[in-house]
Symmetry: C2
Subunit: 141 residues, 2 copies
C-alpha cells in the first residue's frame, strides 16, 4: 500500500532518490555495461584489505549465497579476486583487482559529482539542511 493524491513526502523521497541515483547508475553503465545495479552492493560494502563473503553479505543485509553470486559475477568480469584467507583455511578473502580499484574510484567520482550538483542547486546551506533533515528522519523512523 502506498501514496495518494498530491506530492506526498513519501512519494517525493522516492522520486528524488530515483532521479539522483540514476545519475550514478548511468555512470556505472557507461563504465561497463555488464555491471548491474545489484553489483553496487558489493562495491558499497567492500573493504580494501579484503573481506570475507559472510561479512560482505552481512553488511549488505543479504544471504551469503546471494552475495556469492554477485561476487562470482564481478570475479568473472575481472573486478574482484578470491584469495585464500591466511588466518582461516576455510575462508577466502575477496579483494579488488586493479580494474576493481578503478571502477570504485569512478563510482566515488560520480557520487561526488552529484553532491556538487546538489550544492549548486540548493546552495551549500540548503544541502547541509537537507542532510540534517534526512538524518533526523532516519533517526526517528
Amino acid at each position: 500500500m502506498a501514496p495518494t493524491h498530491p506530492p506526498h513526502v513519501v512519494a517525493q523521497l522516492y522520486e528524488a532518490y530515483l532521479r539522483v541515483s540514476n545519475v550514478v547508475l548511468e555512470v556505472g553503465k557507461t563504465f561497463d555495461a555488464r555491471i548491474r545495479p545489484a553489483h553496487s552492493a558489493v562495491f558499497f560494502h567492500m573493504e580494501h584489505d579484503g573481506i570475507r563473503l559472510g561479512r560482505l553479505a552481512e553488511k549488505a543485509q543479504m544471504t551469503p549465497q546471494a552475495m556469492g553470486e554477485l561476487v562470482d559475477d564481478l570475479e568473472e568480469l575481472g573486478y574482484l579476486r578470491r584469495v585464500p584467507d591466511p588466518g582461516d583455511r576455510r575462508a577466502k578473502l575477496i579483494v579488488f583487482t586493479d580494474q576493481g580499484d578503478k571502477a570504485l574510484l569512478t563510482g566515488y567520482a560520480a557520487i561526488d559529482e552529484v553532491e556538487r550538483r546538489l550544492a549548486t542547486l540548493l546552495g551549500e546551506q540548503g544541502l547541509t539542511d537537507l542532510r540534517a533533515t534526512l538524518s533526523r528522519i532516519i533517526a526517528d523512523f
Copy 2:
C-alpha cells in the same frame, strides 16, 4: 555502482525513503497480509471512475502484462473488478470493489499519519522546506 564512505545524500535519500515507506507498508500488511508491496502501484495509480489496464500500466511505468498480473491478484483478492468498457469492446475498465475502497482509505490514512509525524518531527516549516527541496531536486535531475 553506488555510494561510498560518509552519509552521501544519495544514500540518505534512499534510507529515509525506506524507513518512511515501511510505516505505510506495515499498515498495508496488517490490513491484509496477502497484499504485497508491488500492489501499491495499483492503488497509487487507480482512478475511481475506472481505468483501463494500458493506462494504469503507463502511469505506473510498467508493461501492461506486468500490471495485468498485479490486477489479477487484486481481483482474486476481491479488491478490484474488471468490467467491460462501454466505449470500447476491446477494453475493460478496472474498478474498485467496496473492499478496495476501504483498503484505499486505509492507505491514505497511513500516509497522512506519516505526514503528521513528519510535521511534528521537523515542524510545519521544516516539512514545507523539505517538500520544496525535494521538488527542486526532482525538477532538476
